[in-house]
């Protein structure tokens, strides 16, 4: 029946009409993983109790229990989100055998809703990267063309969704790590407002920027998952106390009068012409749907990447200091002193990219450099927030590319070390300002690789950007699953 090709919304309706069971959905998904996983490499760990989870849901449904709409729907989880009893590696040798004794708040929510946890997906080590190439364990391949990377750092989640190895997935987004792989794999990825989804249990990369996001093959699916995971959590002091509606139920394709701002700085020479053309085509389609388009300017954008790498690395250098071999995780053998143990453990346990960022972060926080780098980055952060606030006086959403290019081939970033960072130019501003942003597929390159369009809104305007995305999806006739696999 190829249930794995269906959306969560369709499967949810079928389950309730008894047209299929959760066990059938899971069996189909597992069969799909069996076929595709060798070529995709989306998962680090696959859950062993998938069928048991499914049977529990089927039993509850048969007993007439009222379940969450997402009950029985498979979900994959990025392997930097803590799962009780299931190892959580951050794709690092450092945490290769680490099994958390507790569930992240979002995992509790998935479990309570009866979602089926399929497995833990691959990522760039500690979420540092844009191609999932820095994973200690394996390479993940783009389902549209396995010669290409799936993007990153939530590359495993994006590839799994795109390849039908799951229906929905959780990722995390610190500088574009949900949106960019979503764009590369031709799916929908939402990075919510900072503070709307609990970070409790998300293994920190950069605490002030990290946010767990939802990934799916349709806007409605993504909205369903986001509605489930958002909400205040007393375990996370940065989570915001407010009530959240059912975003999926409230999705509307009516965008008449929606004011779209198009910041010209996001369409610079570094952005590939095919990407520029596809995004503009998307904007024009929305315009025809009744939206009003305005070109605006965002002068501080050129500093966003610099500010981002200073703040993110600074926090990372502190967040990752706990991996010292003392209590859990990897510990180097044959060491002759405490310092030696620290040095060898961290030298062997971390990959190059992680070490690079730890060193950068340690440098910018040092007494001599704090004012020149870290403090300045915080000032720039304030300015970027202000420019967004100004922009949202004039328009309701901003539409931009997600990434300057479509997916690239493995090793491309290694040849251009700076591009590793500058490529994030379109996505990091939303993290720096804590804003919600969504990536939707808006076309293909000549090589058949997906291109993403980013819709950014003011704080807590998830409904607005979801509606814009939903309108686009409706107007363009839906996002095809497609792909080479």
């Amino acid at each position: 029946m190829k249930l794995y090709r269906k959306t969560a919304s369709e499967l949810s309706a079928m389950l309730r009409k008894r047209e299929c069971s959760a066990a059938e959905i899971c069996k189909d998904t597992l069969a799909r993983i069996h076929v595709a996983e060798d070529r995709i490499g989306a998962y680090i760990t696959q859950c062993e109790d998938v069928m048991q989870q499914a049977q529990k849901v089927d039993k509850a449904l048969a007993a007439g229990e009222v379940l969450h709409p997402l009950a029985g729907i498979p979900v994959a989880v990025k392997d930097n989100i803590s799962t009780k009893g299931i190892r959580t590696t951050c794709a690092s040798r450092m945490l290769e055998h680490y099994v958390p004794p507790y569930d992240a708040t979002v995992i509790e929510k998935l479990r309570r809703a009866g979602m089926i946890l399929i497995g833990k997906t691959n990522l760039d080590e500690f979420a540092m990267g844009a191609s999932t190439e820095t994973s200690y364990f394996k390479k993940t391949h783009n389902p549209h063309n396995t010669e290409y990377v799936p993007g990153g750092s939530s590359g495993g989640s994006a590839a799994a969704v795109a390849a039908g190895e799951t229906i929905l997935a959780l990722g995390s987004d610190t500088g574009g790590s949900v949106r960019q792989p979503a764009a590369f794999c031709g799916i929908v990825g939402l990075k919510p407002t900072y503070g709307s989804v609990s970070r409790y249990g998300l293994i920190a990369y950069a605490s002030s920027l990290d946010q767990i996001g939802a990934m799916g093959r349709s806007v409605h699916d993504t909205a369903m998952l986001y509605s489930l995971i958002c909400g205040y959590d007393k375990m996370d002091a940065t989570s915001v106390q407010k009530s959240y509606p059912d975003f999926a139920a409230a999705c509307s394709a009516d965008i008449r009068g929606l004011r779209i701002g198009v910041p010209k700085e996001y369409f610079g020479d570094n952005v590939h012409p095919a990407v520029q053309a596809a995004v503009w085509k998307g904007i024009r389609l929305l315009e025809r749907g009744g939206a009003v388009v305005k070109e605006i300017s965002f002068p501080s954008m050129e500093y966003a990447v610099n500010a981002y790498y200073i703040i993110a690395s600074a926090e990372a250098s502190s967040n990752l200091a706990r991996y010292d071999g003392v209590r859990y995780g990897f510990r180097a053998e044959k060491t002759d002193s405490l310092t030696d143990m620290y040095v060898k453990t961290r030298s062997l346990g971390f990959g190059d990219e992680v070490k690079r960022r730890i060193m950068l972060g340690t440098f910018v926080l040092s007494t001599e450099c704090y004012d020149a780098y870290y403090k300045k980055a915080l000032l720039m952060q304030r300015r970027i927030k202000q420019e967004f606030a100004d922009a949202f006086q004039m328009c309701d959403v901003l539409i931009t590319p997600v990434y300057p290019t479509a997916a690239f081939q493995p090793g491309a970033l290694a040849e251009h070390p700076l591009m590793r960072y500058t490529g994030d130019i379109c996505t990091v501003p939303a993290n720096i300002a804590g804003l919600p942003a969504i990536s939707v597929p808006c076309g293909m390159t000549e090589q058949g690789l997906p291109i993403g369009m980013q819709i950014t809104g003011p704080h807590f305007a998830e409904q607005t950007i979801l509606n814009a995305a939903y309108a686009y999806e409706t107007l363009c006739g839906g996002f095809p699953m497609g792909g080479a696999v």
Partner: protein, 478 residues
């Protein structure tokens, strides 16, 4: 040798006795089987996040008020980054740039003189775990139970000039913490610790000398000893024509010496930065005011009141006031107005303090009440019983929790003030001790005391001693 002046600054760390830890809901209590009072948050597990226990802020603000500090109603928490096996996150959440409380002072009484010691700041932070060593295991073991126990760090300005002043300051801080009920102040359990900063300079010099910081100072006595040792060490270097190196030293109390831990060159860069997992602390002015009003009368104010209202000496007043329970007893006794405050003071500092010390029981755990103690003293002041008898009564009171009047009755301790009876007694004693009478008349005046003592002895302690003394003196001069 030139004349030198010692300059001392103290950093006191006090564990707060809140019910739960500072950033998680684990119970905050001393001891326990290693690694049992822990959770993902205080163990620093990946992904766990801190949330601030508001009681910690309240406790710290109360200490701030008690030390006359300015309270920052908007402040934040910062990460102090360093590697150590007892610090599972490899950073301590503390406060760097803006502490909760700043610019206060504490008046101390040292050598009978009041002196104002400025307090630079009070900030909140989390405690670290402990390293354990076990013969069965070649390495070190880590106990994380103490991780996340709330601390306040009270930093003084370098305003103390002797180990006696430092001791007085520490005593005063400890006393205030106990008055506020915010810390158990058990040095042996490490709930009160201090780092000592010492420098020396020539008397009259303007600039401060190079300072050394001493760690591992685990008792007030150790603080005094380490200051004296360090001052001597530094003066020795200067006298020999050397210069002092800024360094952190470790005090070894058993050896009575300090050793270099690290020099200025390998001083750590803690890379402080704002803790991104916690929001800004914002205090309502009304709340700050309410906390100010919750501060009880503190030892400093009590000392002044006892001196002014009751005529106690500064030392007596301090000995009562710095001891929360003694002061509470004294205040309750004076409130009853049955006897002289000075008498109450004497009793508390002698018999009551002795009983409490000997038995190790705090006053509140003994049967002693203000009513009982003042009734007892009243009987002495009225001449109903002698001081000696009163001591006897006190002992029984503590033993049996009976009323003093009942005990006096039962033991038949009522003093005999019958003049005829006493005259008869004195006549007998003088006749029996002719040699002493003779001695007295030959100028040995202390024979008087001996004769009085003999009278008391024969009366079984019941004779009114003042009357006996008067009668003996009178008869000797006849």
């Amino acid at each position: 040798m030139k004349a030198y002046e010692v300059v001392i600054g103290l950093e006191v760390h006090a564990e707060l006795n809140t019910a739960s830890k500072i950033y998680c809901s684990c119970r905050n209590s001393f001891g326990g089987v290693p690694n049992t009072q822990v959770c993902p948050v205080c163990m620093g597990l990946p992904g766990a996040l801190p949330t601030l226990n508001e009681a910690v802020v309240e406790y710290a603000v109360r200490m701030g008020h008690a030390l006359n500090c300015q309270i920052h109603t908007v402040c934040r928490q910062d990460r102090k980054n360093y590697f150590y096996p007892d610090l599972p996150k490899a950073y301590q959440i503390s406060q760097a740039e803006i502490p909760l409380c700043e610019n206060g002072y504490l008046d101390i009484l040292a050598d009978g003189e009041w002196k104002r010691i400025r307090v630079n700041r009070i900030h909140i932070e989390e405690d670290a775990g402990k390293l354990l060593h076990d013969d069965r295991y070649s390495g070190s073991l880590v106990d994380l139970n103490r991780c996340g126990v709330p601390l306040i760090e009270i930093v003084s300005e370098p305003d103390m000039r002797s180990s006696a002043e430092a001791k007085a300051y520490l005593d005063a801080i400890k006393s205030i913490l106990l008055y506020l009920g915010i810390s158990d102040c058990k040095m042996q359990e490490g709930s009160l610790r201090c780092d000592v900063n010492v420098s020396v300079r020539e008397k009259g010099a303007g600039a401060l000398g190079v300072r050394c910081e001493m760690k591992n100072v685990n008792s007030f006595r150790a603080a005094v000893r380490s200051i004296e040792y360090e001052a001597k060490r530094q003066i020795g270097i200067l006298e020999a024509g050397g210069t002092i190196q800024q360094e952190t030293r470790r005090w070894d109390d058993a050896k009575g010496r300090s050793f270099v831990m690290r020099t200025k060159e390998d001083a750590q860069d803690y890379r402080f930065f704002p803790e991104p997992d916690l929001g800004t602390i914002v205090l309502e002015p009304a709340k700050v005011q309410a906390l100010r009003e919750s501060i009880p009368e503190l030892p400093g104010a009590k000392v002044q009141r006892y001196q002014e209202d009751f005529g106690f000496s500064p030392t007596e007043a301090m000995l009562i006031a710095e001891h929360k329970e003694r002061a509470a007893l004294l205040d309750a006794c004076t409130e009853l107005g049955k006897c002289k405050p000075k008498s109450i003071c004497n009793w508390i500092l002698s018999d009551v303090a002795k009983y409490s010390n000997d038995t190790g029981k705090p006053i509140c755990e003994t049967p002693l009440t203000a009513e009982g103690l003042t009734t007892l003293i009243e009987q002495v002041e009225k001449g109903v019983i002698s001081n000696t008898a009163a001591r006897q009564v006190f002992a029984v009171m503590m033993e049996t929790a009976q009323e003093p009047l009942v005990i006096i009755e039962k033991l038949g301790l009522v003093q005999n003030s019958d003049r005829d009876f006493l005259e008869q007694l004195v006549t007998e004693i003088l006749a029996d001790h002719a040699k002493s009478v003779c001695d007295y008349k030959n100028g040995k005046t202390n024979a008087l005391g001996y004769l009085v003592g003999q009278c008391m002895k024969r009366s079984g302690g019941k004779a009114n001693p003042a009357m006996i003394r008067e009668l003996v003196a009178k008869k000797l001069h006849e």
